[in-house]
Symmetry: C2
Subunit: 233 residues, 2 copies
DNA sequence: AACGGTATGATTTTCGAAAATATGGTCCAG
DNA sequence: CTGGACCATATTTTCGAAAATCATACCGTT
């Protein structure tokens, strides 16, 4: 289900609707389309060069992912943000991610270990390039996502992985929301390193604790530095 | 997000696409459209009296819910079933439902207690009518769903409730799959009664244990009596 | 007979026009 | 001035035809 986002230039593989869905998702997560923004067909039609129907299909898919809000007979808009929603997403992520980490540590084989180590390695290399503003680097985004994805990939449940991916996207949107206001990033590199070590050494309890802290502190950061954006309805 | 399925006669509220989505979902869950069945537009067009585009939108929504399988450029089909998928759905349900029951018991107020008691009452009345084949009674289906929904409704997280609803639907499809082969229903009435009592008396640990047993034994039943349907790819 | 390539038919996917519905403003009655 | 009904416009939603893509059968070559 996740996308392994290799340069999604033009229509990479298949249907236009799937491509539009992908591009719209990226823009919403990156807050290029801000929360609450009405999504009018005329505008989208021009921006994405697709017809009503195709756009509608994409918007329907994103509605199911919780990134778009459908108001029957009154069109679509980017899903609004709120403190309540941030809390719900955070709690749900903790619940699921903790379970998946446990399972992955229990079941992960050599390939899993390699994936975890190598994705972290790439992430650290990218961070060295611009330690101040990692979130602005699209490559960092991809690498960060892939590291966390690798960590749980061995859990054995495609169903839970799909749910996790959805929640990850929704959380990432909140991260972008606060990116412009956050003074300096905290020591994420160190946290990722510690999580990797706990996972590889099969210390489940420690890994779980680190992951929960990681998720919650990110969420707290958003609430602190983007709180003023979370109050409008 | 859940539907409170009151007689969805004709186009009840709003858009045709939403209506078709609802009807298609019901038919898939009830296995009127069997797992793996190709969903060709000509056929659907005749069956539901809607156009390509509208149907496509409905199928896209159901794909996101895990009830339909989209194969790019090669159309849609009813999501296939498998032992692996049944296991995943069951485990995910236990994980989430257990958490939600805990939260609901902690946060539920008078309205919650009333909802739990009254939905169980209705369920029992319906069961008295035809104790042998409850699953064949569409009213039982609705009442059963509403009881379980009421149990967790006070959890405080719309996000987790939406995920739960999706998993419930997917599990219900498996139940229908085995309904024709199951010799006699086990004592569900007693189980529901016990769950209700544990919840109302705020005995979280007991309620959690009962719910987990309830979910897993249902799943085991399916594996036992519909196992021969779960092996074809 | 086996293989590869191509033409034909079936099916999905996309499009823009047309129908349905909401929005906003104006006018009139109270 | 206020409130409500009505009309005009903006926007969404739906449709069936047209384009794109896939599946299959056919044919010629080895």
């Amino acid at each position: 289900m996740p996308d392994s986002a290799i340069r999604p230039r033009k229509e990479f593989g298949k249907t236009i609707a799937a491509d539009i869905t992908h591009r719209l998702r990226e823009e919403i997560i990156a807050c290029a389309l801000p929360p609450g923004e009405p999504l009018r067909f005329d505008v989208l039609r021009e921006r994405f060069g697709a017809s009503f129907t195709t756009l509608r299909e994409a918007l329907t898919a994103l509605t199911a992912e919780g990134l778009v809000d459908a108001q029957e007979q009154r069109g679509f808009r980017v899903a609004p943000v709120s403190r309540q929603d941030l809390t719900e997403v955070t709690d749900a992520r903790v619940l699921i991610e903790v379970e998946l980490i446990r399972r992955a540590i229990e079941r992960g084989n050599d390939d899993w270990e390699i994936a975890v180590i190598s994705t972290l390695h790439r992430l650290k290399r990218i961070e060295q390039r611009d330690p101040e503003h990692p979130l602005r680097d699209p490559e960092w985004k991809v690498a960060h996502r892939q590291f966390h994805q690798a960590l749980v990939s061995a859990c054995g449940s495609a169903t839970l992985l799909a749910i996790r991916a959805e929640l990850f996207d929704r959380a990432e949107r909140y991260r972008h929301l606060s990116a412009n206001f956050r003074p300096r990033p905290r020591d994420k590199a160190g946290e990722h390193q510690a999580i990797m070590q706990a996972a590889i050494s099969r210390n489940a309890d420690l890994a779980v604790q680190l992951i929960e802290t990681h998720i919650r502190s990110t969420s707290d950061n958003v609430a602190t530095y983007a709180g003023h954006l979370l109050d409008t309805e």
